[in-house]
């Protein structure tokens, strides 16, 4: 028994060390953002800073309109995800539950999946030109609409998987009892796929919050988002280490807090029905 115990302890220690090593880049980034110049640029690199400073964060708040960028991100990402979730869940439900003539359903589902493979850069130029004509460039709803380019296919595809996992019979029973299709969708299918919906939501939200390419082209001035701010401190050959790392930390924290709170759902959602 004691041999087994020692083995178990060894596995646990190795696992902790492994995960800690895996997350070292995160520690390094966070640690950089609190360092004074001398500790940032030292050889050999210092594992721990000699002194902790908030100078980088203060500089960001004072000289770089930090709150402005944070607010823009906080408007655009939820707006785009909300629209995509509403529209996408309806489409996903349709594809999961109804039979369409000429196999349109499965063809559409496959086509939507292939859309998700398409990089935003393939459409960003015409989207910019079209949006310019419609005066949608540098508007919250314009950028949010552009984000449906990658959010919608992802949401439809993922939600379709989750909705298909909800047993059809439960819904049939409700329909027999006189509920309409929409009612049974809202009262049965949606509550029964909460983990899947939460997972889809947080993944889409993180993708929108973290999006850089479209933001750099479409959110040109008034609507600039956090990733654009971070990237503005990173140049081809050089960068402003303090501001870059501090803005990166501030941008990452909100998503991590949300992720932490709904972690339980994410783990269940990503099990794709394997663990009930």
């Amino acid at each position: 028994v004691s041999k087994k115990r020692i083995l178990g302890l060894a596995v646990a220690i190795v696992a902790v060390v492994l995960v800690a090593a895996y997350l070292f880049p995160v520690y390094w980034l966070v640690s950089m953002s609190f360092r004074i110049q001398k500790d940032m640029f030292s050889w050999p690199p210092k594992l721990f800073p000699t002194r902790i400073t908030f100078k980088n964060y203060k500089g960001l708040a004072e000289g770089h309109a930090l709150l402005w960028y944070l607010r823009n991100s906080a408007v655009i990402a939820p707006l785009s995800v909300a629209v995509s979730m509403i529209v996408g869940s309806l489409a996903a439900y349709g594809l999961a539950r109804f039979r369409y003539p000429h196999r349109i359903g499965s063809r559409l589902a496959n086509w939507i999946l292939s859309l998700r493979m398409l990089p935003p850069v393939a459409a960003v130029l015409p989207v910019f030109l079209i949006f310019s004509a419609l005066r949608l460039v540098d508007k919250f709803y314009g950028v949010a609409l552009a984000y449906t380019f990658f959010n919608l296919p992802f949401i439809i595809w993922l939600l379709k998987i989750y909705f298909q996992d909800v047993p059809e019979e439960i819904e049939q029973a409700a329909l027999v009892d006189g509920a309409s299709r929409l009612q049974s969708f809202f009262r049965i299918t949606i509550p029964l796929s909460t983990p899947g919906i939460a997972t889809t939501f947080i993944l889409a939200l993180a993708a929108s919050w973290n999006e850089f390419l479209m933001a750099s082209q479409l959110a040109t001035f008034n609507t600039r988002t956090m990733p654009v701010l971070i990237a503005s401190f990173i140049w081809d050959r050089n960068m402003q280490w303090g501001f870059a790392t501090a803005s990166a930390v501030l941008s990452a924290v909100p998503m991590m807090i949300i992720g932490l709170f709904i972690q339980r759902y994410i783990v269940r959602g990503l099990s794709f029905g394997a663990v009930k």
Partner: protein, 306 residues
């Protein structure tokens, strides 16, 4: 697409057509579910792609379509060196990231599936962190680590002044590393959930039969988690040709064109150089390749799942 093997939607029993309605539109409400999504997708995906197709056929200049090019641009670019380099880089990036993510994710999941008690959810939660970080930030992290003068990597290998992202033959692998670092945990979480649902009885039965660990892995564990592996593979493959942010932050496609993939090539020609017709042609090459790949891939994935 459920792990239980529900067939694709084409085979789901019909439920839209309630027969007791007598109007011709009875049961047609199922189209309304798809309509809003289709309108948006036509607006933000189809129309832009058609616009781009037009730009490959007519020289685009200063906001207007000009001279008819026909297939001239296609012929010129298809034979060009830039496309070849970018395609090869894209393929290496896609294959490299997906294979490594699946492999490392599986190993990590098998390892953390051992009896860890309360430690497991804590470690799993910690490993979720990279998933939520912006790719721009991931690129920034690795660029700091790979800094030639003050970076941890140069210190670890004991060669100050050396940076893989400044080397022709290493830069692409540095990008792969950054991507794999970010997304291995995603695969890990999916596979760990699947591993935890492997029935203990069949594992015990295999043990009684005297099966070694590798045999149990091969004959009990892997077949059971195959649907999860396919879902992880699909989810990661969908993203594998879109790598851009880490390249932009870490290497700007360089040194030379060592890390210029299709995405970055389209960006450079279309947005830096503002040669819209060229960028449009590259975009369409990519659209064609991705459509072919995904249809091939889906056919295979569905067949595997029976």
């Amino acid at each position: 697409m459920s792990p239980q093997g529900t067939p694709p939607s084409g085979a789901v029993p019909a439920a839209g057509g309630e027969a007791h309605h007598k109007h011709w539109w009875a049961g047609q409400s199922k189209w309304l579910y798809l309509l809003p999504a289709m309108v948006i997708l036509v607006g933000v995906v189809i129309y832009p792609l058609i616009y781009m197709l037009r730009a490959t056929l007519f020289q685009w200049q200063a906001g207007a379509f000009g001279r008819f090019l026909g297939g001239k641009l296609w012929a010129q670019l298809l034979l060009g060196e830039a496309l070849r380099i970018a395609l090869v880089n894209s393929l290496i990036l896609a294959a490299g990231t997906v294979v490594c993510e699946l492999l490392f994710g599986l190993v990590l999941a098998l390892f953390l599936n051992e009896s860890l008690g309360l430690l497991r959810p804590v470690l799993r939660g910690a490993l979720l962190i990279p998933i939520f970080i912006a790719p721009v930030i991931v690129g920034l992290m690795w660029r700091i680590i790979f800094n030639p003068q003050y970076g941890v990597f140069a210190w670890l290998i004991g060669r100050r002044g050396f940076s893989p992202i400044a080397q022709d033959n290493f830069a692409l692998y540095a990008i792969i590393l950054a991507e794999v670092w970010q997304w291995t945990p995603f695969v890990f979480v999916i596979l760990l959930a699947a591993l935890q649902s492997v029935p203990i009885e069949s594992l015990e039965a295999a043990l009684v039969d005297g099966a070694s660990y590798l045999m149990r892995l091969r004959h009990v564990i892997l077949p059971h988690i195959l649907p999860a592996i396919i879902i992880a593979l699909l989810l990661r493959s969908m993203e594998s040709f879109k790598i851009f942010d880490t390249i932009q932050v870490m290497t700007h496609g360089g040194p030379g064109r060592a890390t210029e993939d299709m995405t970055y090539l389209i960006f450079r020609t279309g947005i830096w150089v503002s040669d819209v017709s060229t960028a449009a042609t590259y975009s369409w090459v990519l659209v064609i390749i991705l459509t072919a790949l995904s249809s091939f891939f889906l056919r295979y994935a569905y067949r595997e799942k029976g």
